[in-house]
């Protein structure tokens, strides 16, 4: 971060000195997009950002990075961040972390979402920190980023958010869950709202990559302990999404639970 800022000051001095430095010629002339990116017209600047992001050119990436370093209005920063993350490079992280603290929640959300593409500890730390943001949409963005970036440090705060009934946290946990984590989530019964827990565990069951089947059976049994109607809904979704054949013990278990609940007049 400090390094990035030092670069900013140095580049400003360079510009201020009046050097008539022209962008180096690349395979494609992007000077129009670079100029438009710094335009006072936000719509034109936002389009330029998107256009530069579509180009897999180092110069385009540099231009985006420079523009973010020099500061962009929110409506331009959001597409510029997305464009930057389209072709991730390690130097981006410092810039994205800077925007992950931006006063505008939309900008923060965009930066956190973008950070999912970066495997560095700094990026993961920023995502985990984003789960503590006071703005719900930012927390949701951080949760999504934690899932996509497979940020293990995010598990504890995600569980805390799940305990407050935050659905994006449940989705993220479902996406992150291996068997151990799934068991841990199941153990949250009583600490987490029933509906949120059922949805989270149900989402794990729906994952094609989650298994083997004995693990799914455990999840079905964990859901069966939830008395809320959402448990039946989660199991029903699983039954509906799973073919009868070849037979799966987890599906049979789920069918049994649902039938027993419905036959007993339960929910």
């Amino acid at each position: 971060m400090r390094h990035a800022v030092a670069l900013v000051c140095a580049s400003v001095l360079f510009v201020a000195a009046g050097a008539a430095a022209q962008p180096a010629k690349k395979q494609k002339d992007i000077s129009a997009e670079v100029t438009a990116l710094s335009s006072a017209d936000p719509a034109a600047a936002a389009k330029a950002a998107a256009d530069l992001g579509a180009l897999d050119l180092p110069a385009a990436h540099e231009a985006l990075l420079d523009a973010l370093a020099m500061g962009l209005p929110a409506q331009v920063a959001v597409p510029a961040i997305s464009a930057l993350a389209a072709h991730p490079a390690p130097p981006d992280v410092a810039s994205l972390r800077r925007y992950a603290h931006h006063h505008n929640p939309t900008v923060r959300s965009a930066a956190l979402a973008a950070l999912a593409a970066y495997p560095s500890p700094e990026a993961r730390g920023a995502i985990a920190a984003g789960l503590r943001d006071p703005n719900g949409s930012v927390r949701a963005a951080a949760a999504g980023a934690a899932m996509r970036g497979r940020v293990r440090d995010a598990v504890d705060p995600l569980l805390q958010l799940l305990a407050r009934g935050e659905e994006p946290a449940g989705k993220a946990l479902a996406g992150l869950a291996d068997l151990d984590l799934a068991r841990r989530i199941g153990d949250e019964l009583g600490k987490v709202p029933d509906a949120a827990l059922a949805k989270c565990l149900g989402a794990i069951l729906l994952r094609a990559d989650f298994g083997p089947d004995p693990a799914r059976v455990e999840i079905v049994r964990a859901i069966a302990k939830i008395q809320d109607a959402s448990a039946v809904a989660a199991l029903t979704d699983y039954i509906d999404a799973t073919p009868k054949n070849p037979p799966r013990p987890s599906r049979s278990e789920a069918v049994g639970v649902v039938e027993a609940r419905l036959a007993g007049g339960g929910k």
Binding site: A6, C9, V15, A16, H101, N104
Partner: protein, 599 residues
């Protein structure tokens, strides 16, 4: 017409009593005053009035119905001498072997050793006040348009003499055979207690005379403005030429008075007015103003005793637990207080150390009391008061009536060095129940404090951040930043500065920092950063120059000034670039130009 009225008054005043209180009479007569003062039979050193010369307290507590309970306490032994229920309606005056108070409509003297009634004298009019010396009781009352002063024999209650007045008399005081009676707010009349003869009178030329305080050795008179010590120089009637003194009473303790108002009927009894008093002793002087003993004085303010130096600065503080002190006095050696629950505390007037603690051992609510304890100097030397602890105790008091005192305590506390003091002040800011006015005062004190040792405490205060999961939010961020900014120019520990900058930078970057606080954070970083703040501040400016936040005038000013004042060539180049950027928010370029203009 006016002359005829005066004549009428003079004629009327002559009926039935001695010719003591006249509108025209000899006054401010140095010879007569010296003679009157010499006539007094006073002890060489401060001594209790009672014949046993033992320090005592006569307290009044609530009892069933209209009754009260008088409790007599021997302060030296701590033993309760006696208790007696009585319909007491006034203060208690102490004589040699008796005490006297208004009970119902009569002045009743009680045996000082046992509390049994000794005599009863019906007051033939509206009671104004009474006093006693070793041998006699004196009472002032009003009947029709005439005021009366009478002397009663302490042993048997026989009326010895009486004198009338066609103008208002205040409640009297007495010692050594001389009665002091305020007359028409202008004169202090000195009357021979034995004969009722006018000895002399003093006229206040540049100050009213509405207040009296009499100890075993000294009489003081004056008003809310200040007090004269009665001595030979009183004949001048002028503050500048008499032995006159006034103390600095902090604005927060504005109701404090030197003694009861002799003309206020309500104060003829123990009232809340007794809970706001200046307490002092003096050493005699031949010239110049009144000399406070030890150069100190104290103020009793409800639950609190505050000790002041001659410079008017608070030296110590005592906070009585739970209940108010309902009576107080200065014995010459200690400041004594009596609490509503019957505890007596004696505090060293110089150090604030508690020298003695006694108890009336009652569960009744104590309303007030009269100390007959002149010269009492309890031998036990307690530890000197911890002024910080006492002031913090005041600061955290939950009683909303004392908010102004808390402001005073904060001010005094802020002048004391040390990180603990900073921490205590910050805790007040974090206290949800503390009134905003007190918090505002504390902020100003923190800013003015400029104590480098407090920087770690201020940094620690910054550690609390907005965290949705932890349910925390920063406490007093703007105030803390202002206090840090106040340290500009002082020698600060490098490590402390680094830690403070790191903590400030977190809030600089935090999306939840309100703009007003952000401006303070920026100012604090610039104040103590020594250059290390330049890069984060430049980055911050660039990040928001084209954003909504960049449109905030407070932010524009703060960031522009910080970088222009403390920045190097790089930061000034950033400023110039931002000023020229068409995307910069309105007003920012102007703020930058203003700031760069003072480079």
């Amino acid at each position: 017409m006016k002359r005829a009225l005066v004549l009428l008054l003079l004629v009327g005043a002559g009926c039935g009593g001695k010719a003591v209180f006249r509108l025209s009479s000899d006054e401010n007569n140095a010879f007569a005053l010296d003679k009157a003062l010499a006539q007094r039979q006073l002890p060489a050193t401060p001594t209790p009035v009672n014949d046993a010369h033992q320090p005592r307290l006569y307290a009044l507590a609530n009892a069933a119905g209209a009754n009260k309970t008088i409790l007599a306490l021997d302060l030296a032994s701590g033993n309760v001498m006696w208790k007696a229920d009585a319909e007491v309606k006034s203060r208690i005056a102490v004589g040699g072997d008796f005490i006297v108070a208004l009970e119902g409509n009569s002045l009743v003297a009680r045996d000082q050793a046992r509390g049994q009634p000794r005599w009863r004298h019906s007051v033939p009019g509206t009671y104004v006040g009474h006093a006693a010396d070793r041998e006699r009781a004196y009472v002032v009352w009003k009947s029709g348009s005439t005021w009366w002063l009478a002397a009663l024999d302490g042993a048997g209650g026989k009326q010895l003499w009486k004198a009338d007045a066609a103008g208002v008399l205040g409640a009297p005081q007495a010692h050594g055979g001389v009665v002091y009676v305020p007359f028409l707010s202008q004169w202090l009349t000195l009357v021979d207690g034995r004969s009722g003869r006018l000895l002399t009178r003093v006229r206040g030329i540049d100050e009213q005379i509405s207040t009296l305080r009499v100890t075993s050795t000294t009489a003081y008179y004056g008003s809310k403005q200040g007090m004269f010590e009665l001595d030979g120089r009183s004949s001048t009637g002028l503050r500048a030429e008499a032995t006159y003194g006034k103390v600095a009473i902090p604005a927060q303790l504005e109701r404090t008075t030197y003694a009861r108002d002799a003309y206020d009927d309500v104060q003829a009894a123990y009232t809340a007015n007794d809970r706001t008093r200046v307490l002092w002793a003096t050493t005699p002087v031949k010239q110049g103003p009144m000399a406070f003993a030890g150069g100190t004085y104290a103020i009793h303010h409800f639950r609190f005793l505050l000790g002041f130096g001659a410079d008017g600065e608070v030296r110590w503080a005592y906070s009585h637990p739970r209940v108010e002190l309902v009576a107080s006095d200065h014995t010459g050696a200690v400041v004594v207080g009596l609490s509503a629950s019957g505890e007596v505390v004696a505090v060293d007037p110089v150090t604030g150390a508690v020298r003695a603690q006694k108890s009336l051992g009652t569960s009744q609510q104590v309303l007030g009391g009269t100390f007959d304890a002149d010269g009492w100097a309890p031998a036990a030397e307690g530890q000197a008061a911890d002024p910080v602890a006492a002031l913090v105790g005041i600061l955290r008091d939950r009683d909303a009536r004392f908010d102004r005192v808390k402001e005073l305590a904060a001010g005094v506390l802020a002048k004391m060095p040390g990180p603990d003091v900073t921490r205590h002040l910050l805790e007040t800011l974090a206290d949800n129940r503390a009134p905003q006015r007190l918090k505002d005062a504390v902020v100003e004190q923190l800013v003015a404090r400029r104590d480098p040792s407090g920087l770690p405490a201020l940094t620690a205060q910054l550690a609390v951040r907005t965290d949705y999961l932890a349910k925390t939010e920063p406490d007093a961020l703007g105030a803390t930043a202002r206090a840090i900014a106040g340290l500009e120019g002082l020698a600060l520990d490098t490590g402390h500065v680094e830690a403070a900058l790191a903590a400030l930078e977190v809030h600089l970057d935090a999306p939840t920092t309100p703009t007003a606080d952000l401006a303070q954070v920026i100012g604090a970083m610039a104040a103590i950063g020594g250059g290390a703040e330049r890069q984060p501040l430049a980055s911050h400016l660039l990040l928001y120059h084209a954003d909504d936040l960049g449109g905030e005038a407070a932010w524009q000013r703060a960031i522009s000034i910080a970088l222009a004042r403390k920045g190097g060539p790089g930061e000034r180049a950033v400023l110039r670039r931002v000023a020229g950027d068409p995307r910069s928010r309105p007003g920012l370029a102007s703020a930058i130009r203003d700031a760069l203009g003072v480079e």
